[in-house]
């Protein structure tokens, strides 16, 4: 390939060394003569700066994928993490030399000798990776295009929107598989006939109410819901996937098979049947949502009464169940409560704080935490977020947080 490059003679090399006032004894005997390759090509490849996780993934032979739309920035995904890809340009010149020996690889003894090393490319840019969270809001929007209202409604006018399978979602939302799966779980999405759907609230209410009614009729609230029997009974009204999904969202699997409280020293029962116990918190939350969703500002006292009456017998309501779901204003007369779910708030941290401060000027730590907890990362916790985006002050003896800048 580069056969016409002149081999530099040791004489030439040593003359230069002499002029440079370097002694042969100062340097190792191998001299690497660097040439540009005849096929010098600065476009032939790209340099990608690797994060530890990505390097490990590549070394383990696992898949690393880049996804992008023309309008969006490209992202790089391993199974579990998502990174934004940004191009960095530098003023330095990076000479890419595949066969260069470095430092310890160069023998420090032996006769003087030369080695040719070729620069195959000169680069002034590379791509860097910044970890980022996948765009859950985008996923939510996609799934809300065609919410599931029951088999009978699938062909009607309101249900002509697009429906997506997992592959589709991976490509459009641009996140890692694990993160997309977690987001789907957070959105309480359900896989129906291979497509991921979100249940519309009225339909969800129907299903849940049927399950609760069945529980009350059969005393399953104390013994646990036998999954198979429940699916069998309600399977005539609703797709089984939906029933199982709703049970999964609002109940917890019982480990020892339907005996209520169990002694952890007992051997687990060797039965395949699954039993679930309804989660008091999640069911109460659901009924709060049911009452508040279309109600605007509700008189707090009245709400609490209605709420308690609506939940299944034996379940206890508590204000702590409303964190991240509703806001209470104790400063007005009478005290009011209204529906304010964290899922409907902006994903972008700056915009989230702006919306929160627009809604209420000052927040206590207990009030604001449920509304920013989902924005925390490994590096930044609730306190960190507040330090960065809010201003602390004292009001009536308690610490409150308000906006750092004018609210838009």
């Amino acid at each position: 390939m580069d056969s016409d490059q002149n081999e530099r003679s040791l004489e030439d090399i040593n003359t230069v060394l002499e002029y440079a006032k370097l002694e042969l004894s100062d340097v190792k005997p191998t001299v690497q003569c660097i040439y540009f390759s005849q096929q010098l090509d600065n476009q032939s490849f790209k340099l990608l700066e690797l994060d530890d996780t990505v390097l490990e993934t590549l070394t383990n032979g696992e898949k690393v994928v880049i996804r992008g739309n023309t309008d969006d920035m490209a992202v790089l995904c391993t199974q579990t993490t998502t990174f934004e890809i940004k191009e960095a340009e530098i003023s330095n010149s990076m000479l890419i030399t595949p066969q260069l020996d470095i430092g310890e690889d160069v023998d420090d003894s032996g006769p003087q000798n030369t080695k040719v090393s070729k620069v195959i490319s000169v680069m002034n840019n590379y791509y860097e990776l910044r970890p980022c969270k996948p765009k859950v809001a985008k996923l939510k929007k996609l799934l809300e295009e065609n919410m599931y209202s029951g088999k009978e409604c699938e062909e009607d006018e309101q249900h002509q929107g697009l429906k997506y399978c997992f592959e589709d979602l991976l490509n459009i939302v641009q996140g890692s598989e694990v993160e997309i799966k977690e987001s789907l779980k957070k959105l309480k999405a359900c896989q129906i006939e291979g497509l991921w759907r979100v249940l519309d609230f009225d339909f969800l209410s129907q299903v849940l109410n049927h399950i609760i009614q069945l529980c009350e009729e059969n005393d399953w609230l104390s013994t646990g819901i036998p999954l198979d029997e429940c699916l069998e009974t309600l399977g005539q009204l609703f797709p089984r996937e939906v029933i199982a999904h709703v049970i999964d969202c609002y109940a917890n699997e019982m480990k020892s098979g339907g005996q209520g409280d169990h002694d952890p020293d007992d051997q687990p029962m060797q039965i395949d049947a699954k039993f679930f116990s309804l989660s008091e918190d999640k069911i109460c939350q659901f009924f709060a949502e049911l009452v508040l969703k279309n109600s605007g500002k509700f008189n707090l006292k009245e709400f609490l009464k209605v709420w308690e009456q609506t939940v299944p017998q034996g379940m206890r309501t508590s204000l702590s169940q409303l964190e991240g779901i509703a806001l209470i204003d104790r400063n007005c007369m009478p005290e009011v409560i209204w529906y304010f779910p964290v899922e409907d708030l902006p994903e972008d941290v700056g915009e989230r704080f702006n919306t929160l401060f627009k809604t209420r000027e000052k927040w206590s730590l207990a009030e604001i935490s449920p509304y920013i907890r989902d924005l925390t990362t490994l590096k930044v916790d609730v306190g960190g977020l507040l330090t960065k985006y809010a201003r602390a002050s004292m009001m009536n003896g308690i610490k409150v947080f308000s906006s750092r800048k004018p609210v838009t």
Partner: protein, 125 residues
Amino acid sequence: MYFEINFFPRPDSPNQCPEWAIVDLQGSLETRQPVPLGGKFVGDLHFTKQNVPILIIGHHILYGKIVDMEKPFAVIVKDESSETATDRDTDKNTSVNYVVKALIKKKLLFKQRPKPIIANIPKKL
């Protein structure tokens, strides 16, 4: 339009990915006349017994250091044989594979000002 680029591990062994090096120079290299650089001599690279890299380019001597890169580079190349397109008209779901050709974990960084070499020293008698 969506596109997907997949990295595939080296077919032989992911643990035997070649390691290349970078010579990192501040500024850019120029020739006196505007000629293509291909094939041209750049300079001599020496290492002192303490592994300090010394690069002599033209009439300049540059002292540098070996840097272990905090974040190594992957050299990625398009795998031409893998290019497929589901729909040539709309370019939807074009899938191209890239391959990691090498990793770069170390570089020789020359950021000190080059020192000029005076070429005409009278030879010792």
